[in-house]
Amino acid sequence: MDSYKHILKNGLWINNQAFVALLGLCPLLAVSNTLINGLGLGLATTLTLILSNSIISLVRHYVGSEVRLPVFVLIIASIVTIIQLIMNAYFYELYLILGIFIPLIVTNCAIIGRAEAYASKNPVGASCIDGLAMGLGFTSALVVLGAAREIIGSGTLFANAHLMFGEAANNLTMVIIDDYEGFLLAILPPGAFIGLGLLIALKNIIDARQAKPSQQTVSMDFASKKA
């Protein structure tokens, strides 16, 4: 069994569902136009992942492999519907913005992906942590991309924070660039693709930097083999 620390690192960085697995792109690209929208959908997705991973891990011995996928989809769809109803009841204004994307969580391949690849084979505790880690990894991708697009696109940060944190958070909105004309490309879908591409590139650069020492040994291995 993996250590919890490794599971967390795996979800947040090594196997980040958005940057590495490139799963769940539909909600990622559609909702990441502001930081708050990204955070809202990210947290809803994280909650879904934790619940779906835990429940699927709990029942993994009772569900035969023949019907496992329909049962997983059933469980995930039920969880998402319940989250949607609860958001509609208690975070209504945020729901008005994210509403149409919440049902899309069902189609987020990252969730069925973790159910199949991890939760159906591992104990409850590890599966729950895996859901949390994968969810937070996905959320951080949404938040970073959302923040970048919001700053470049509209020159603000934390706009509409009151939708999530109540009226008190209204003054949280920061104007990063005064009298900004706005940069439409960043807000529209192409901006999401370009932004995601740049972030993946950035992650790859960081990974390459960190891997440099070991890479040298690899190339030396090759060299010795050739020799």
Partner: protein, 212 residues
Amino acid sequence: MANTNKVILKSAWVLGLFSLIGIGLVSLTHHVTADKIADNERLFVLKNLRALVPDDMHDNDLLSDVIEFSDPNSFGNKHPVKIYKAFKNQQLVAIIASPTAADGYNGSIKLLVAIRQNGELIGVRVVSHQETPGLGDAIDSNKGDWIHSFAGRSLNNPKLSEWNVKRDGGYFDQFTGATITPRAVVKAVRKTLQYYQANKGNLVTSNKESNG
């Protein structure tokens, strides 16, 4: 063979059981949240109405003094229109109509149009739209002041022939790079004013009176 049947039967039971549990949990949540959700939707509508017709202007419940109908002849499309009626001391002081401009740049634009009893506009608000961010979305009161240019206007101010955007020889500004959106809004507001002028007489009674 018997073994295969057994596996199939077991799978069916598992699938059926999970369906039942899923349905049960969703129904339970629906049951618990239904009132709160209905309340939210009511409050949201009320909040939009209040922004146009504040509470001190009327003494009736706007949400119960409402008629809903669909009138393609007057509004140009089949979208249902609600008319909320505001009364003070049994006198009609204003109406708020909810027309839809179906000819926006990207789908329908839902509006609220508040008209004072004398036919003068109190104001117009956009409730929902999918116009281009940064261009057409300036009709949204959160994004621009354009929508406030309707306040105080009526069918004689500007005169009927000028109820258009400037590009079409009218009075109202369009936006740089977006003419279709304001054109659709101006047209919908004009049609609402014309409807009010033609049907004023039928709107002066409260629902309560006409029912009682």
